[in-house]
């Protein structure tokens, strides 16, 4: 991770993202994994569509197409088809928010995954409709206040990785931006692999989470430590591997909640979240076949 990255930036200076945006960090880290590979980006309506700035300049350093909100995986299927027909090595990457992944884009995502299109789908999940000013999505966690759930969301966050695993795609993984080496390994694998790949990234959103911009990666680290954000990967929908082992610290969980004002109103505490986290991990342990946590293979 210490070497300097000399390839052209995917996401350039002058973009309009808020300070501390997880999507910005994602794109900077993706640049290393992409390296010299030719890449085309597909971005549905989301903060990513705004981040490029206005015509004719663009902060995206690779050829990019903005799709309608629900269409990114379909548009990417078209691009990937032409690349395959022409023996062109260009990798097609979708960058979508949680709305374009969990909600409005879900049918299209599911269909492209079922067809096993040669696409890398990256969801930067900030758990909120950031681009429209912070409304709930099905990725918003229970207890979080949004602009249309003023008392805190009542329902649980959708387990999108389980849904994607059920499509038996070649590769699906959750990513912690606070664990750069693991992120790089996953990005590199996902860029190189053929077929449908899905990366789920917990993407700090200081604006929506009502948190300090500089604390974004720290929040991700706390979410991972506490077990709230399990970091693992799934091969072919059946082989599970936990790649970052949490210590299940309640202190970390309380800190995670208290550093974001979105949880203030509902008064969510570690004790409220712990039972669900434990159930989730029981199932993950069973699926990954490891009672004793181990290092990632390869």
């Amino acid at each position: 991770m210490n070497e300097i990255c000399n390839t052209a930036a995917i996401f350039r200076q002058g973009n309009t993202n808020c300070g501390g945006c997880g999507m910005s960090i994602t794109l900077q880290m993706l640049r290393r994994a992409v390296g010299a590979n030719p890449v085309h980006l597909v971005i549905p309506a989301c903060c990513g569509a705004v981040a490029g700035g206005t015509f004719p300049q663009s902060t995206f350093g690779v050829p990019t197409i903005m799709s309608t909100f629900a269409s990114a995986p379909a548009v990417a299927s078209g691009l990937a088809s032409v690349a395959a027909l022409n023996g062109d090595p260009t990798r097609i990457i979708v960058l979508a928010g949680d709305g374009g992944t969990f909600d409005i884009g879900f049918a299209t995502l599911s269909a492209a995954a079922e067809r096993n299109e040669d696409i890398l789908f990256i969801c930067y999940d900030n758990e909120i409709y950031g681009n429209t000013g912070g409304q709930r999505s099905s990725a918003t966690p229970q207890g979080a206040v949004t602009s249309n759930t003023l008392e805190g969301k009542l329902e649980q966050k959708k387990d999108i990785l389980a849904v994607m695993a059920a499509h038996r795609i070649p590769y699906a993984a959750s990513v912690s931006l606070a664990h750069a080496d693991d992120t790089q390994k996953k990005f590199a694998h996902a860029v190189a692999q053929k077929g449908f790949r899905f990366l789920h990234i917990l993407s700090p959103c200081p604006t929506g989470w009502k948190s300090e911009p500089a604390l974004g990666l720290e929040l991700v680290r706390l979410a991972v430590r506490s077990g709230l954000w399990p970091v693992y990967e799934i091969f072919d929908g059946k082989r599970y591997a936990v790649t970052i082992e949490p210590d299940f610290s309640d202190e970390a969980l309380d800190l995670y909640l208290s550093l974001q004002r979105r949880f203030q109103k509902s008064g969510m505490t570690a004790a409220d979240l712990r039972p669900a986290i434990e159930r989730n991990w029981q199932s993950l342990r069973a699926l990954s076949g490891r009672i004793i946590p181990g290092k990632r293979e390869g």
Binding site: G52, T54, F55, P63, I65, G78, S81
Partner: protein, 386 residues
């Protein structure tokens, strides 16, 4: 040139297949398809063709069908899809995106009533949803016309001066499912007719972003460029007609089709297959001494206003037949062309065949006798055809 017995759905699909194969030395062909009555047979036929350097993606919705076409076209490939009715309505968002991105996608639409309440029969209201969206729109009246228009649509859409989607309409069941002889050119001639697809703004290696945000003045410029390119399309289409005739040895129907209109006092104006029925009525009424003619509008967007106005000149009575209704105003064709008639002319709108009613010669004869008795235009009138 061979003659094949084809439904209009199959004619459109075969035409698209020949166009697809003609781009095998270019970037190839990519299509997204989803079935809906009555256009299903078009996508089924396409899915069963072998296309060198081509892929037909069987997607989960019409919205995604056009999404795949957008991706394929943005990557530089030739692209085609087919749909109908609510499928088109579901696709509208991406049709608008394709038009605004100036992607030369060709689509065949089997016109069908929008629902619910469900009705599978012909009504042009589906295609007309996209009247103002920046797609070129043709309405055909025979299976041969569907075949020829789809083939020419690729040439028109991909022409650098035009560069936008083209929609080719056929009325559901009336054309889509009826089988008729269609002259089909050999692949070699199609290869000569269609240059390799060249989309100058496709995604290649130089970083540029398609469809990003714009300021009002930029949108203003882009819309006007698009509008100007549309206005130039009839001229380009006439060039294509000349090449078509030289290459295939037969005529490609024009933007408008006047029939015995020159010396007529009364004109029957329509789009689609009603125009063919109107021509038969004209022949019958001419036998009886009436000075009646017909005008079929094939190219509805861009609307060839000068050509239509030239046919309208001197006409005292113009009956405009619409198999569609712009609710709250009247027939869509009528509302667009009524101002092109001479001052004082009676321009009467007849809403007929809505929801797929079978418009027969006696209905059109009744319309002619109604307008003949009129001294002034009235409100759009429902002429039931059941």
């Amino acid at each position: 040139m061979s003659t094949q017995l084809l439904s209009a759905n199959h004619a459109a699909a075969l035409s698209a297949t020949l166009a697809a194969r003609a781009n095998r030395k270019g970037k190839g062909f990519v299509s997204g398809v989803y079935p809906i009555t009555p256009s299903t047979e078009c996508m089924e036929y396409l899915c069963n063709q072998k296309i060198e350097k081509g892929r037909v993606v069987r997607v989960e919705s019409e919205h995604s069908a056009m999404g795949v076409c957008i991706g394929g076209s943005a990557a530089g490939a030739r692209s085609f899809t087919a749909t109908s009715s609510n499928g088109l309505a579901y696709m509208v968002e991406n049709c608008i995106a394709a038009a605004n991105l100036r992607l030369p996608i060709v689509m065949s639409v089997a016109n069908r009533t929008l629902g619910p309440p469900w009705n599978i029969w012909a009504d042009q209201g589906d295609a007309l949803l996209l009247r103002d969206a920046g797609l070129i729109q043709f309405f055909c009246a025979s299976n041969q016309e569907v075949f020829d228009t789809v083939l020419s649509a690729f040439r028109l859409a991909e022409e650098a001066r035009v560069m936008m989607p083209v929609m080719v309409s056929m009325e559901g069941f009336i054309l889509s499912h009826n089988v008729a002889p269609v002259e089909v050119p050999p692949q070699a001639l199609v290869d000569d007719f269609l240059p390799l697809t060249d989309i100058p703004h496709r995604l290649e290696s130089v970083p540029h972003t398609l469809g990003q945000m714009e300021q009002p003045h930029q949108t203003e410029c882009h819309r006007f460029q698009h509008h100007t390119a549309m206005l130039g399309a009839p001229g380009v289409y006439d060039e294509i007609r000349r090449d078509f005739e030289i290459l295939f040895g037969r005529a490609l129907a024009g933007a408008i089709v006047p029939y015995r209109a020159e010396d007529a006092d009364t004109l029957i104006v329509s789009m689609g297959t009603m125009g063919i029925t109107a021509e038969a009525v004209v022949d019958a009424l001419r036998e009886a001494g009436a000075r009646v003619g017909s005008l079929r509008v094939r190219l509805f967007r861009p609307l060839p206003v000068d050509a239509i106005a030239a046919v309208f000149a001197g006409k005292k009575r113009i009956a405009v037949l619409d198999r569609n209704i712009g609710l709250g105003l009247g027939g869509v064709l009528w509302s667009d062309i009524r101002a092109l008639a001479d001052p004082g002319a009676v321009v009467q709108n007849y809403l007929t065949g809505l929801g797929g009613g079978d418009v027969r010669p006696e209905h059109i004869a009744k319309i002619v006798s109604d307008i003949t008795a009129r001294q002034a235009s009235g409100a759009p009138m429902l002429m039931e055809a059941v």
